[in-house]
């Protein structure tokens, strides 16, 4: 039987798409590179996911899991004719355990919906990527998604206790558990952030976080990025780890104001800081932040007095990508991380690269953890523009890696940053990652061509297998 016929034998008609138009619709996520799709399935149970995986394995068709398709690095795009397993129908919030502060959810549950659901219990799901109104928990697990509030709370992996995994062979396996330190190797930590290359996640036990009793949100204006970055370092040096510390540069502030009018001062840099916690602590912590700002030469310091003012500040921050979309037809977004102390020099280098390539650049980033998001706004229809943007992009990434940084902090490596992995890791390091992947997916059918560059698995490194005992003596 044909691939699609096999799929239809186990799934209902409305659970399989293979019309060329649908395949075209599914060829892209929120990244820039399109892929090739063989079929799309919409399983409604773990068993159906397992059945679809088995059929794909039988036909040797690559398998790509997809949530809302809001990923920015091409993680949900098949590079060769592949089966897209859309997990959007596994969208049940199955059970919320108030005492344990946990919830079992399907991968298709939308991030913000979960927090809205648990709000009456005074709990929320902490990772808050900018796309949280649309992205799914399953997709967050795939990329180990972050967000502004990950500074204090940690990224997705810190909030996942257990996973139900459909393996490359189509077996259903439970990883982790509700108890602390589940027995054996921490395979949950391996699967989170693996972008669907280790298996497909069908149920997720997430940790819920107590809503802070008090929050203070500050907006600090500076006349240079350097001054703002100095304030960030001073806050940390003072022993305070705020819930979030976000920095925006002037082009970004202007774009946001143009888009949403949040009342941000038009200045070289705006730092948004939020401290959250016990009522007796937030004011003194806010004072530490304000003092650090003053010492660094802040030209204006606002502390949101009402919920509306706080929401307006966050609206400005969270509208950043929308503002760029509003201003330019195309954008390319980076996600490197550098040590916090290297922020200023990295930013200057990035500005220099932008100027040299003549590209328009806007910056908004998670300054607290050194996660940069230089955003290049451009028009792909302009001849030669895409090449210039990509050349500048590569340079920016190399600068970040040069100061000891990482390729991606929260968006994932996917397709777009895959070929830069060799800049960070040695061939031996990549081989180790490839072996780990092989342990989960011996036939290489789970989201192939993602994360690791071609040829990462190097059999030359199997030294032990190649050498005879005597040759070492």
């Amino acid at each position: 039987m044909s691939f699609a016929a096999d799929l239809r034998a186990v799934l209902a008609d409305d659970q399989v798409l293979d019309h060329p138009l649908d395949l075209h619709v599914y060829a892209k996520d929120a990244g820039v590179t399109p892929g090739i799709v063989a079929a799309v399935v919409f399983p409604e149970s773990s068993e159906q996911v397992a059945a679809a995986v088995k059929i794909a394995a039988k036909h040797e068709v690559p398998i790509v899991a997809r949530g809302a398709g809001t990923g920015l690095s091409g993680g949900a795009v098949p590079t060769r004719p592949g089966l897209i397993v859309a997990l959007t129908r596994l969208n049940q919030i199955e059970e919320v355990d108030e005492a344990a502060r946990t919830a079992w959810v399907g991968p298709g549950v939308i991030n913000l919906d979960l927090s809205a659901h648990t709000m009456p219990l005074g709990l929320h799901y902490a990772p808050d990527p900018s796309s949280q109104s649309a992205c799914t928990i399953g997709g967050n697990v795939g990329t180990n998604a972050g967000g502004p509030h990950c500074l204090a709370e940690g990224t997705t992996v810190s909030h996942i206790l257990a996973l139900e995994l459909i393996t490359a062979e189509g077996e259903i396996v439970m990883l982790g558990g509700a108890e602390p330190d589940p027995l054996g190797l921490d395979l949950v930590g391996v699967v989170v952030g693996s972008e669907g290359t280790m298996g497909l996640v069908t149920r997720i036990l997430v940790k819920l976080t107590e809503n802070p009793p008090e929050v203070r949100t500050l907006l600090l204006a500076f006349d240079s990025i350097e001054a703002a970055a100095a304030a960030v370092s001073a806050v940390i040096a003072a022993g305070v780890v705020p819930a979030a510390m976000e920095l925006m540069d002037q082009p970004m502030i202007e774009a946001v104001e143009n888009f949403k009018s949040c009342g941000f001062p038009i200045t070289a840099a705006v730092l948004i800081a939020e401290v959250a916690g016990h009522p007796a602590a937030v004011d003194s912590e806010a004072a530490v932040v304000a003092q650090a700002g003053r010492d660094a030469g802040a030209t204006e310091i606002r502390i949101a007095a009402t919920e509306i003012e706080r929401d307006l500040i966050w609206l400005g921050r969270k509208s950043a990508f929308g503002a760029v979309a509003y201003a330019a037809p195309d954008y390319y977004l980076h996600d490197t991380v550098v040590p916090r102390t290297r922020l200023v020099e990295t930013m200057s280098a990035i500005y220099e690269i932008g100027a040299r390539h003549g590209i328009q650049m806007l910056n908004v980033f998670h300054a607290g953890d050194g996660n940069l998001h230089p955003l290049v706004a451009f028009d792909a229809k302009e001849p030669g523009m895409l090449e210039r943007v990509k050349a500048a992009a590569d340079e920016m990434v190399r600068v970040s890696i040069g100061v000891g940084g990482a390729l991606s902090g929260e968006h994932g490596v996917g397709l777009e940053k895959r070929d830069l992995m060799g800049e960070v890791f040695s061939p031996m390091d990549l081989d180790a990652q490839a072996r780990l992947r092989e342990a989960f997916d011996p036939k290489g059918l789970l989201n192939p061509d993602k994360i690791l560059p071609e040829g990462s698995r190097c059999y030359d490194f199997g030294l032990v297998a190649n050498l005879e005992p005597d040759s070492l003596k």
Partner: protein
């Protein structure tokens, strides 16, 4: 491996190890890798050894070679402003924390760590009581350099606090029991130490009114909440619950019994787990409320007691782990995890000849 190298690196077997093993303390991680490569070729079982403080009862094949990390003990790079520390695995936890304390920072490792090494704590999967606030140790391993079972030296992760560049091998090393490789060097994420802290004796029932405590412990002598934060916050919280606050953190002494069993259960079941260990005649116990760990010490070994506690814990979706036993040949872990086949494959990805502590992981992996 040359006989000369073996001679140069050989040391007396540390206390707690079988005296017949070949104990080696290579000078650097490349040398560690050479030993592992040789052991792989020869098919000799190896046990990595840090401080020997959290080895647990012997499990799996008896080792022929014991690899000490005592020569790998340098602080490589401490960046207080980045809240990161790069340190070699053989460094003592107490030394490292003393260094960090000078800048009022901490790696939030176990509170009682006399003689323990950084690498040993990570490989044993040990977390401190403060995990309630800061999360378990595995949350803070940003980068590792490891010598794998077949003698490759690999690095994964990065020296930044947020990173999805490649698979999270650093986290995988936590609790790996030395079965994947010998940890040579790690980068740890640090936390600032809050300005004030206090210990509050109180009833377990009153724990719930506290916001973000460091730890909520119960022992055979009563319950204590540990708080940290700004001075106003600590004083305010103490006042609100009406408990007398002792400045500083007076952690309970570690268990000393020759038989120790650790129950790991979903957090709401800690009170029930405490009842279980009391009923099993525990001399002493350390219960971590809202975390789910209850460690108990017993005067003597009893197979029946382990079976009863294990049957209860596993019935609750948890586990009963033997941390120390006065008897040989005990089943340290109990029922293996559902993912045991994947666990075996992952081990072999790092240690294809299965020479590193074979059978030490749950399920005989």
């Amino acid at each position: 491996m040359t006989a000369r190298a073996i001679e140069d690196w050989q040391v007396t077997a540390p206390e707690g190890a079988a005296s017949e093993v070949l104990a080696l303390a290579p000078p650097d991680l490349d040398s560690v890798a050479r030993v592992l490569e040789w052991a792989s070729l020869e098919g000799r079982p190896v046990i990595p050894w840090g401080g020997g403080t959290h080895m647990g009862p012997p499990t799996g094949a008896p080792p022929e070679i014991l690899l000490l990390t005592s020569e790998l003990n340098r602080v490589v790079d401490y960046q207080p402003d980045d809240l990161t520390l790069v340190v070699e695995a053989g460094a003592l936890v107490t030394d490292v924390e003393a260094l960090l304390a000078e800048r009022r920072q901490s790696a939030v490792l176990a509170e009682h760590a006399a003689g323990s090494t950084i690498g040993g704590m990570i490989a044993s999967g040990v977390s401190g009581y403060r995990r309630l606030r800061y999360g378990p140790t595995r949350e803070r391993i940003l980068e590792v350099t490891v010598a794998t079972g077949d003698g490759r030296v690999i690095t994964a992760g990065g020296r930044v606090v947020k990173n999805v560049t490649g698979y999270d091998i650093p986290r995988l090393m936590s609790g790996s029991q030395g079965a994947l490789g010998v940890i040579g060097q790690v980068c740890l994420k640090l936390w600032p130490v809050p300005e004030a802290s206090a210990s509050l004796s109180m009833e377990v029932a009153a724990f719930r009114s506290l916001y973000r405590p460091l730890a909520l412990l119960e022992t055979e002598r009563g319950a204590t909440a540990y708080l940290a934060g700004t001075a106003e916050e600590v004083a305010g919280q103490a006042q609100a619950v009406g408990a007398e606050a002792r400045a500083g953190l007076d952690w309970p002494e570690p268990l000393t019994q020759s038989t120790q069993i650790e129950l790991r259960v979903p957090a709401p079941l800690v009170a029930a787990a405490v009842e279980q260990v009391r009923a099993a005649d525990a001399e002493s116990f350390r219960a971590q409320h809202r975390v789910g760990v209850v460690a108990a010490g017993f005067a003597e070994w009893s197979d029946d007691r382990l079976a009863a506690l294990r049957s209860w814990a596993e019935g609750q979706g948890g586990a009963a782990v033997v941390a120390a036993a006065s008897k040989q040949d005990v089943d340290r872990w109990g029922a293996p995890p559902a993912s045991v086949e994947l666990q075996r494959r992952v081990k072999e990805a790092f240690d294809p000849r299965r020479i590193l502590v074979p059978g030490r992981l749950p399920g005989g992996v």
